[in-house]
Symmetry: C3
Subunit: 172 residues, 3 copies
């Protein structure tokens, strides 16, 4: 299924400026997201083969736009060589250690069967996971003090997408 | 808690034919699923000790049956030696590389404490995860172009189950 | 964002007694949780640097309190050196094997960049994941026969929190 084929209601999405390099695309100045139902898609430009990109600010903007006060936020990458995680956003050395250790555990070249040369990226994507859930309370991401949300690039540099779906806590 | 003890409303569930081997059981011809609330349980027969089974078609059928248009789909395995992941469904070599690399990282025999001989499978299950979330838009799984949903068998061959719960995006 | 800054409606939360050591704090006798919307926060005291703590009973109490009959339960740790997983709760040797194997894969000291000495814990947290989803049917966690929910401590002993958010399956 092509992503574009199901885009039904494009709308401008105000995201904040990106964090430190590699930077997020500021989609205010371009057609950089799609909105379907309440779901928002972010565009993220990555600048290295492997690395973590802090997308917390942009996900928070999507949560605000959803107008959901209490619920869960899901950040999903529609790619097979990237992932999403929550980890420390304060010291960038943590992201470096995560990236380097994953590359030690899953080397770039190890006699893989897949012939495109990026099997390591696929394997890392399955280890880290393509979707990250975060609680929403009071209309905001309910992250711990040191937590941030990261797109994990394992086969860049590329233009990536992240879908942000926010689900209301209802009924009961 | 036994799975069977909470089954309250069994109902026939039309699933498509399985993908390439190992194949899914076609539950049209047998009592192969249970429906509780809106949740659907799939039966998946695995044919090797370790391997990935593409269950995308069956999960899509469960999403259609739920009648949810916008929301999130959760695919959950109620087993402790299996997992669920999203990765490339086009080239089966990717699934082979994932399986083989996990077996290198977590060897079958490594002086484990658990005496049932399947500690590697339990550890892989925790690394990959027992639940995978995928957005739903327009009544369909909002997967990326190359993505499919896989049951990861780590201690087969066995008859496995996958619960598919679809949550509506509401309120806001 | 500080956790305390968004606590708006503290309320007593009756949790059961903890499982085997390391034990859960019995929050009945102290200010041990917060309730926001329907979300409940559990306090978990860990007693070793690394180990798994069975929190199934406490999560089940939070599900009962939510009054949700059909939906999904999300267990989220707001920490960057801890995680949540579902695995076998019957034989404690499984949890030991998981803990020991993670420590082999990600050694405590390996020339990490982060200077706090706990990079291994951050990396394990990303491998296992900070949020675990479990279906809810009939007002109860719909776990498999052998499954339990575990807080994974990777940099203890510490006082930890787990947020339990239960989302209703609605509409459709």
């Amino acid at each position: 299924m092509s992503l574009d084929s199901v885009v039904s209601r494009p709308r401008r999405f105000d995201v904040g400026l990106g964090g430190p390099a590699p930077r997020l695309v500021d989609t205010r100045s371009r057609k950089g997201y799609d909105c379907l139902g309440r779901m928002v898609s972010l565009e993220v430009a990555t600048h290295c083969r492997t690395g973590l990109v802090d997308i917390t600010t942009q996900v928070q903007s999507a949560v605000a736009q959803s107008q959901v006060k209490h619920g869960m936020c899901f950040v999903y990458v529609p790619h097979t060589t990237a992932a999403v995680t929550v980890n420390e956003a304060f010291d960038p050395a943590v992201a470096e250690d995560i990236t380097a250790t994953l590359s030690k555990l899953v080397p770039a070249h190890a006699g893989y069967t897949h012939t495109e040369g990026n099997s390591d990226a696929h394997i890392k994507a399955t280890l880290v996971g393509s979707c990250q859930a975060v609680p929403v309370e009071g209309g905001k991401l309910f992250l711990g003090r040191w937590q941030g949300i990261f797109l994990c690039e394992f086969d860049g540099p590329r233009q990536r997408r992240c879908h942000v779906q926010v689900i209301n806590q209802s009924g009961g």
